[in-house]
């Protein structure tokens, strides 16, 4: 096998791994959109907020310390303890569930039946609010996430594959963190699928996604299901935030991962879980391959726009997305 080809394969593998992450972020959108028709602009900020919360809890930081100090003239910043990672993750999940409950109780409960554009605007407001709350609670510095996840190239893969392509090929370079992230994402998606197919609340979730009136008539509380999907979206955001944050620090730019999910949604459709997954993979592989093959000819940096161009082309030819059904207006 030629080294060039093998490097191409490496590009595809790495593309798949970033695709998994895109899929994960897109999944958060799909969950909420399916169940409530709300396009949640705040999904990216939720990832940032949950990662900040995780770091804050792990480091024993006092939430709202600045505010407390300003009001009471105190100088507290830390509880002086450190919380083990697993417990901190659990506590963060609780925070995200509380957030989901609050969003439902104080915001969307009052907006039932409003136009989609109003709901969308509400999520924009929510995004900036949450960003502000994140700053207020945990401060706005760049934080490092010390979960102890493995980092750097996976030596064993490099060594094992080095012999494949002659002297010019040094083996596949794959980041260990990407491997871990992919595994976690796959487990998360599998659990979500099992949950929605085989549990009572999962079934209720699917029912609400299909028809609100019918769901009510069989005894499903829409409010409960909406809190549930926002909680799940919060957990998905946490995982995405942790993986991204572990790579490049927990900082504002983390909330921009939502922008990566948009083309995935255009490709996969806003209501399809398989669509989000396959769409994520296509975009992940597509943008890496494009950069590898075409990038050098056009001066590089194609990863910024390639996904969007691909998605636009897709929109033109298949507006319903990969798995969406073509909607023909009844007249």
């Amino acid at each position: 096998m030629s080294a060039d080809f093998l490097y191409g394969v490496e590009v595809v593998i790495n593309g798949l791994m970033s695709g998994v992450m895109y899929a994960l972020v897109a999944l958060g959108f799909v969950l909420i959109f399916k169940a409530s028709g709300i396009f949640n602009f705040a999904q990216g900020v939720m990832a940032l907020f949950s990662a900040l919360t995780l770091v804050g809890i792990m480091e024993g930081q006092v939430p709202f310390a600045h505010l407390i100090n300003a009001i009471f003239g105190t100088h507290i910043h830390n509880f002086g303890w450190e919380v083990p990672a697993l417990l901190a993750i659990f506590l963060t999940v609780l925070v995200m569930v509380a957030f989901a409950w609050a969003v439902q109780k104080f915001l969307f409960r009052h907006l039932v039946g409003q136009e989609p554009i109003i709901l969308f605007m509400a999520t924009i407001g929510l995004a900036y609010f949450l960003e502000g709350i994140g700053d207020l609670m945990w401060g706005s510095e760049i934080r490092t996430l010390a979960l102890g996840l493995p980092q750097g190239g996976a030596r064993f893969i490099e060594d094992a594959t080095a012999g494949l392509g002659g002297d010019d090929f040094y083996g596949f370079f794959i980041d260990k963190l990407d491997i871990v992230a992919s595994i976690v994402a796959i487990i998360l998606v599998a659990s979500l699928v099992i949950f929605s197919q085989y549990t009572k609340h999962g079934r209720a979730m699917r029912a609400v996604a299909d028809d609100h009136q019918a769901a009510l008539s069989v005894g499903i509380s829409l409010n409960f299901v909406w809190v549930l999907v926002w909680s799940l979206a919060g957990i998905v955001a946490l995982v995405a935030g942790v993986m991204w944050g572990a790579k490049s620090g927990v900082q504002f730019s983390l909330s921009l991962i939502a922008l990566k999910a948009l083309p995935v949604l255009m490709l996969g459709g806003f209501t399809s879980i398989p669509g989000a997954i396959v769409g994520g993979l296509i975009i992940g592989v597509g943008e890496k391959l494009f950069e590898y093959l075409i990038g050098p000819m056009v001066g590089g940096a194609t990863e910024n726009w390639f996904a969007y161009v691909l998605a636009l082309l897709f929109l033109v030819f298949r507006p319903q997305g990969l798995f969406g059904e073509k909607i023909i207006e009844r007249v």
């Binding site: 079934r203 028809d211 009510l216 005894g219 829409l222």
Partner: protein, 272 residues
């Protein structure tokens, strides 16, 4: 408050029991429109109670009041001998009141079987955690639920379409699937909003037979809205007649048929 709790015997020998649902002076407004004007009537255990009236009379609104989709501005709903606080539709469903809709509300993306299965959600006690931990209990529950669902599917003769996505079914079969989903919930009170609308004669006959069998075999109390007078007279034990939000008649089919107000309403206003 006390209620008159007398039972009566039907011509075909069924015993109709106590009042299960008692509507007292219900008034429902939409802005300036009074859809229901101070209406009272009751539904007794085991009976088939029809609500009839011309288009726009307020029949569906009445059913929506019973099932919690609408909250009346005035009046009380008594259920099982107690006044009922205003409830959300899902809470009403959990009290054992199932319903179908005039313009069909099914889960179009799911198969017939899955649709009917959602009727069992109220009977699934196991939550997320217990389902993961007490596998045995959850399995037993799942088996019970499946048995009921299969029974209903057999009963309504929809075995051949059990795997079909509901979105692909013709209208008449959709109505039947909706009934199946309601029945899967084992309701005490079943509310049917025009279960035979848009059906051909043969489909109407099938549906009538199912409704009678449900009442007979499961002892389910049924309130139904229907425009076809022939069907109403055949099926129902007692009939409420509405017109412009008012009640203009209440009694057995024979009594209602000879009621002058009812005759006038039906002659004066066209209906389909």
């Amino acid at each position: 408050m006390t209620q008159v709790l007398e039972s009566y015997q039907t011509e075909d020998g069924r015993t109709i029991g106590d009042v299960v649902l008692d509507l007292k002076n219900i008034t429902l407004r939409f802005g300036g429109v009074e859809a229901i004007k101070n209406i009272s009537f009751n539904i007794r255990q085991g009976e088939i109670r029809a609500i009839i009236g011309p288009n726009g009379a307020g029949k569906s609104s009445m059913l929506n009041v019973i099932s919690g989709f609408y909250t009346p501005q005035e009046g009380e709903v008594w259920f099982n001998g107690k006044p009922r606080a205003p409830l959300r539709p899902y809470q009403v469903a959990r009290q054992g009141i199932a319903r179908t809709f005039q313009n069909i509300a099914l889960f179009e993306g799911m198969s017939v079987l899955d649709n009917v299965m959602t009727g069992r959600l109220n009977h699934m006690k196991s939550g997320m955690l217990s389902q993961a931990i007490w596998k045995g209990k959850a399995e037993r529950e799942e088996i019970e639920n499946r048995e009921r669902v299969e029974h209903v599917i057999d009963f309504l003769e929809i075995q051949s379409i059990r795997k079909t996505p509901v979105g692909r079914l013709p209208y008449g079969l959709k109505k039947r699937v909706e009934l199946a989903r309601a029945l899967a919930a084992e309701p005490n009170l079943l509310l049917l909003d025009e279960p035979m609308a848009g059906m051909n004669v043969e489909e109407k006959e099938d549906m009538s037979r199912f409704i009678l069998d449900v009442n007979d075999e499961f002892g389910t109390t049924i309130a139904l809205i229907e425009h076809d007078m022939g069907v109403v007279m055949d099926l129902s034990d007692r009939v409420v007649v509405m017109d412009y939000g008012r009640k203009i008649g209440d009694g057995t089919p024979d009594e209602v048929r000879s009621n002058q107000d009812v005759i006038d309403a039906y002659l004066g206003v066209s209906n389909d």
